[in-house]
Subunit: 383 residues, 4 copies
C-alpha cells in the first residue's frame, strides 16, 4: 500500500488536467505543493509577490489558451492575488489560484494567518471551493480548471487546508478525475441570422470590422477572422486587447484611421469586444448617431450594452466568422470604393504624423521616440 | 416644461422594457413606485412578505419567459428577498428586484433602515446597480431587464435611493433607453458536432432523452424538443423542472420507468439539465458505469460536471434539437426494440403500482391518495 | 465505548453554554439536531418560516439577556434568516444561528440545496464558522455563544455539514468546551471623566436623560438607571428601544413632552442610544444648536456620530449610571425649576390631547382609539 | 463666491481631522487629491505599489496612534490594498483608505476600471462609505477617521467618485465636520474586579505579565504598564507585537526565558494580547493545565478564547494597569523568590546560548550572526 500526501494529489490532478505552468510564492503551508508540482513536471516560476504571480498566470493563460496556475500561501498571500483575480474576471482571462489555508482543526481558534479566505476570494472569481479531505481534491481541481477555461473565462480558486498538504492516504483510494478536453466547447448563431448578417454587410456603404479580446481568445479566432476579412475585403481595426489577432500589416488594416473609421462607418461588425469606455460607449460624436452594429459575442448579456445591437450573433468569434464567410461566398467589398480610399488616405496621413514624432529626437524627447527603440528591439531582436 | 419624478421614470422604463407584472410589498420609500407602475399599466400584485413576492416574481418570469418585477422597501424588505434571489441564481430563473434605499444625503448617518443593501444583494444576483440621479434610471432598468433574461437567466437588482423617488426633473431631459428585444439571442453547435451526435444516436442500443429546466426556458424548446422525439422515436423522461415541456401522456414518455431507464441506458441525450443530486450525480449504480452522455446546454461550465460529457453540444435546447432532428432525418429508433419494450413494460408496471396506491383510501390515508384529488381538480376544474 | 452523533454534540454544547430556547424550522439535515436539543432539555419552538424564527430568537435573546438559538435547514432555510441576522447586527441583539448544510463530500458537486452559505451569512453576523469534524463542534458553539453575547451583541452562525449530524464518534473523544459566564464583562469610565460629567450636570439649566436599547441590554441597566434618575431628580424619556427600562409612570418620566424636551434641553445625558434618524440625527431644529451631550455607550465608534459628543463616557450603561450617581451624591435637580414645570405642563397637555383621541370612537375610527383596547388588554389581561 | 473642488474638500477634511501623512500611488482620478493634500500641509509619500502604501499607512498609524491615510486609484489600485486592510482588521491597526472610482454617470456602463469597489473592500474594513455629493464629503471623512481610531482600531474606506474630484461647488456651502478628539475614549473595569485581580496576584506563587499589541496601542499603555511592573516587581515578557512597550533591558524583563515562564507560571496577567497561535492557543504543554489568566482587553469577545479567562478585565490596558497598581499599593513580589531566580537563571543561560550563535561567524553563516550587524546598526547609527 503506497501512501500519497495532499500536495502530490494536488500536483498530480493539475498535471492530469493539462496544467504546465505554475507561478507563485511559496511558504507555509504550500511549500510542498510547489515541490510536488515540479516533481510532476509542472514548470514553477517563483515570483517576489503574489500580486505579480497572479497577473502573470492569467496573462499566460489568456495568451496560450491553456490552464495556468498561481500558487500562494494563506492570509496575505491569498489576498495579494485579488487584483489579478478581478482583472481576470473583468477581462475574461483564465487562471486557477491554489491557496493554502490554516489547518482544519485550528479553524476558528486564531491560527497562523487565519482569515475567511473563501469569502474574500469568491466575489472576484467564477468559482471557489475548499476540499476538506484529500480524496476530494481531484474533483475540485478538475472543476476549477474547467470553469476557468469554459464559457467566458475567468479565475477560479481551490483552497487547500494546511493539514491536507502533508497528511497522507492510501494512494489507491484517491481517484483521479477524468481530464477535461482543453479544446473548449463553441457554438454558432442559427443559420437565418447568419444570412441576415450577410445581407446587412452587402448593403452597407461604409462597413468596418472591429475586434477585441474575444477574437484572440477564440481558439481558431485569429485564423478564421483573418480568412473572413481577406475573403470579404472588409477594412478592420483592433482594440488593444484584440491587437495581433490579425497582423497590423495586413493590407486591410486601417488602425491608424481609427477615429475616422469609427465616426463615419455605417455598419460595424463588432467581434469579441465591448462597447465600453475603450470604445467611447458607442456614443456620438465618436460614432454615427444611427450606427448599425452586428455583434459577435459568447456573452449574450453584452448585446445592447450602451446602444442597441442591430443584429446580435451569439457564438464563438472564429466559428461565427467562418459561417459568415461561407454565407458571403462570392461577394467582396469594393476595394476602390470611396470608403476604402478615405480610410487608406487617412491612415496614411496619420502614419506620417506619427512617423515624424517617432523620428523626432530633439530634447526633451517625446514619448513616441521611445517607441521606436522598443519597436526595433521587438521586431529585430525577439521576432 | 413638464416635470417627472423618479417613481414615474422607474415605472415608465420598466414598461418600456416589457414588464407587465410586479409583485411586491409597498412602504417607505417605494409607495410611489408601486402607484406609478399601476399608472403605467403594470399589473401590481401586493404580497404579505417580500420573501413570497420574490419567489412569485421569478416563478412567473421563468414560466412566461418575460421580465417580472419584485418591488420592496429598504432594509429588511430587500433582505427578505434573498432566498428568492438565490433560488433564481441557482435555478436560472429571471427576475428583476427594485428596492428602495435611504436618501442619498442620509447615507452614512444612521438613516431609517439604512443598510449596505447592494453588498448584501450582489452575491445572489447576476447584476446589481444603484443610479444616483433620475437621468440614469432608464439605463439601469434596461440593463437589469436584459441581464436577467439574456444568457443563463437570473436575478438582477436596481436600487432606488428614497429621494430619487419623489424628486422631479424636466421630463425632456430623461432619455428612455431603447427597449431590448425580449426574444433572446440563441446559438447552436457547429455542424460537425451535430453530425457526430446523430451518429452516436444511431449507434446506440438503449438511447434515452432526459430534459430539464433548460428545455422549458428555451423559447421554442418545448415544441422543438417534442418534434425531435416524435420524429426520432426516442424514449424520454423529464426532471421535475422539465415536466411539461413535452406532455407526460406522449406515447414516448417513459417517466414511470425512470430508475430502469437511467440505469440501463447506454446513451443519454441530456437536454437543459444538470447531473446534480437530482440525477444522482450521474454515478453508478443509478447510471451505467460507462454511460455515454450527449449534453445540450447554454452553459459550457455544466459539461463534464461529475462525469465526463461524451459529446458536449453548446447551444439553445430547442434550436439544437431542431438541427439534430434535421441531421437525423429519415432515421427512427425501432419502436419494437427490446429497449422500448423493456421501458414500456416497466412503465406500465410502475403505473399500476402507483394506481393502486392512489385508489387506496384505507385509513391512515397514504399520500398518493391525496394526489388523486389534486390531479382531478387540476385536470377537470382548471384545464 | 459509547458513541455520540454530531446532533447530540451540538445540543449538548448549546445546553452547556446556557441555551434554554431554540426557535426553528426543521427539515433535512437538521431534524436530528432539533430532536437532540429537546432531549437535552432545550425548549424547541417550531415556526412556519425561518424568517420569523430568526426574528423571534433575537427578540428573546435581547429581552432575556440569554443566548437563544435559531435552527434552520440548508439553502433557503439559512437565507431566510438574513433579515433577522441583519436586524440583530444593526440593533445589537444577540442570537445564535445553527444552520445545516450539504454533506462535506458533496461540496462542489451540486448537492441538495448546496449554496455558499457561510459567505452569504458572514456579512450579517459578528462571527460565522463551520466545523468540519464532530470533535470541533463544542469550540465552535462556545465561541458563537460568547461572541453573540459579549461586547456589542449581535448574531453568530455555526454551520453543521449534514454528514456530521448523523455520523458518530467515541463519546470520550469529544471534549466539552468550558461554559462561558453568561454574566457579561463590563467597564466604566475613568474617575476623572465621571467627575467632569457630574460637574456638567450640576451646571446645566435644562438637563435631560434620554436612554435607549443599550440601557435595556445592560444587565443591571434598568435598576441602576432608575436609581440614578430617582436620586438626581433628572427628567427622562426613552426611545422606543429603551421603553420600559424605567417605567413610563415614574414621576420623572416626561415622554409625552418629547419634542419640547429635546428642543429646549441644554444638556442631554444620552444613555445607550444613538443619534440616528430616530433622534433626528441630533440636528436643529429638533435639538438646540449648541446642545451639550454626555453620551454613555459601550461602542466608542458611536461617539460624535452626526454631532460632537461633549463628554463621551465609555462603559456599561448601568455601571456608569451608578458611578455617576455616587459622584453626584447629595445633589438633586430642583423639582420646582422652570424646566421641570415646563416639561410637566407640556407632558400634561399632550397627554390630554392623546386622551381625547383615545376616547374618540366616532366613525371612521382614528387609530389612537385602537390603542385603548390594546392597552386595556395588556394591562388587565396579561399583566 | 469662491468655488472649491472635491479634491480640496477631501484634503481639507483630512487635515481638519488630524491627518498629517498620506501614503499612496496617484493616477486617474485621484491625482488632484494628492496635490490638494500637499497644498493643505499633509505630507505625501509616493509609493510604487498600493500594496506597500497600505501596509505603510497602517504601520505608521499603529506606531503613532494618529490617523494615517492611503490614497489609491480605482479598480486595481483599490484592490491592491486589500492585504493591508485585512492586516489592519486582524491586528487592530488603524488606517484610512481614500480610493477613487469611476464617474457617477458612467456607473453600470463599463467605465475605466469600473468595479464594485465598496463591496470588495467592506469585508476587510470597519466601515466603508461613498459620498455622492461634494457636500457630503466632510461627514464621510470624519466618520472614517473616527471609526479607524476609536474602539478596536482598524481600516476604513471612503470612495470618491471621479467626477466629484474635479467638480466644484460654492465653498460656503460645504460645512466642515467638527474635528474629532484624537485622544481616544477609554474605560476601566469596575472597582470590585480590580480588587479581585489584586488578590489573585498577591496569592500567586509564579505570576507573569505578558503584553502584546494592545499595550502599545493604549495611549498611555507603555508608561502605565511600566509603572505597574516596576511598582509590583512582576516579571514580564512581550509578544512580538508588544515589544518595546517596556524596554527589553528593564530588570524585570525575562523574555529570554519565554518557554519556561509560560510553562511554569501559575498566573498570567495577559495585557492586550490574544491566546492565539502565537501563544500556542494557551494550551498544554506550553502552558500549565490549570493556568489562571487575568486578561485585560478592550474587546470582550477575546476573553475565554481557547481557554477560560479566570478574571476578565474589560478596559484600556494602560488605565487598567494604573488602577490595578493603585489597588496593589504597598505590595511587591519577592525579588528573591524561587520563581524570580528560576526565570533570571534561565534567561541568563538562554542569553549565553544566543550570544554564542551571534558571535559565531564560521561558514556557513548562521542567521543569528546577521542579527548582530543589524543590532549594531540600529543601536549605534539610528538611536
Amino acid at each position: 500500500m503506497d501512501e500519497i500526501d495532499g500536495a502530490n494529489v494536488v500536483a498530480r490532478s493539475l498535471k492530469e488536467e493539462g496544467v504546465e505552468y505554475m507561478f507563485g510564492v511559496v511558504g507555509i503551508p504550500v511549500i510542498e505543493i510547489g515541490m510536488a508540482a515540479q516533481a510532476h513536471g509542472i514548470k514553477y516560476i517563483g515570483c517576489r509577490n503574489e500580486q505579480s504571480a497572479a497577473y502573470a498566470a492569467q496573462a499566460m493563460g489568456y495568451l496560450t489558451g491553456k490552464p495556468v496556475v498561481c500558487l500562494c500561501v494563506s492570509g496575505p498571500g491569498v489576498l495579494h492575488t485579488i487584483g489579478g483575480l478581478a482583472n481576470a474576471k473583468v477581462n475574461g482571462w483564465p487562471m486557477i489560484l491554489i491557496g493554502g489555508s490554516s489547518d482544519l482543526d485550528q479553524d476558528n481558534r486564531g491560527a497562523f494567518q487565519e482569515y475567511p479566505q473563501i469569502d474574500a476570494i469568491r466575489p472576484h472569481c467564477k468559482h471557489a471551493s475548499r476540499p476538506t479531505t484529500i480524496d476530494a481534491i481531484p474533483q475540485h481541481i478538475e472543476k476549477a480548471v474547467r470553469t476557468a477555461l469554459y464559457g467566458r473565462p475567468g479565475a477560479t480558486y481551490v483552497e487547500i487546508p494546511g493539514n491536507l498538504v502533508t497528511e497522507t492516504v492510501d494512494e489507491s483510494t484517491v481517484k483521479s478525475s477524468p481530464p477535461i478536453p482543453l479544446s473548449r466547447p463553441v457554438s454558432i448563431p442559427p443559420e437565418s441570422l447568419v444570412r441576415s448578417a450577410a445581407e446587412m454587410i452587402k448593403e452597407s456603404q461604409r462597413p468596418l470590422v472591429v475586434f477585441g479580446k474575444g477574437a484572440q481568445w477564440s481558439e481558431r479566432g485569429p485564423i478564421q477572422l483573418q480568412q473572413f476579412v481577406t475573403a470579404t475585403g472588409l477594412p478592420f481595426l483592433a482594440t488593444p486587447g484584440g491587437k495581433g489577432a490579425i497582423p497590423d500589416n495586413h493590407p486591410l488594416s486601417i488602425g491608424p484611421a481609427r477615429s475616422t473609421a469609427l465616426r463615419e462607418s455605417d455598419l460595424i461588425i463588432l467581434a469579441g469586444c465591448r462597447l465600453n469606455w475603450m470604445l467611447h460607449f458607442g456614443q456620438p460624436p465618436r460614432f454615427a448617431d444611427n450606427i448599425k452594429i452586428i455583434q459577435i459575442d459568447v456573452s449574450p448579456e453584452e448585446f445592447h450594452q450602451n446602444i442597441p445591437t442591430t443584429l446580435p450573433l451569439l457564438g464563438d468569434v472564429g466559428e461565427t466568422a467562418q459561417v459568415l464567410r461561407k454565407s458571403l461566398k462570392g461577394w467582396k467589398f469594393d476595394s476602390n470604393s470611396k470608403w476604402m480610399k478615405t480610410l487608406h488616405q487617412k491612415a496614411e496621413k496619420n502614419k506620417e504624423t506619427v512617423e515624424k514624432m517617432i523620428n523626432d529626437e530633439s530634447t526633451p524627447l517625446n514619448y513616441y521616440a521611445a517607441y521606436k527603440a522598443v519597436s526595433n528591439f521587438l521586431c529585430h531582436k525577439i521576432l
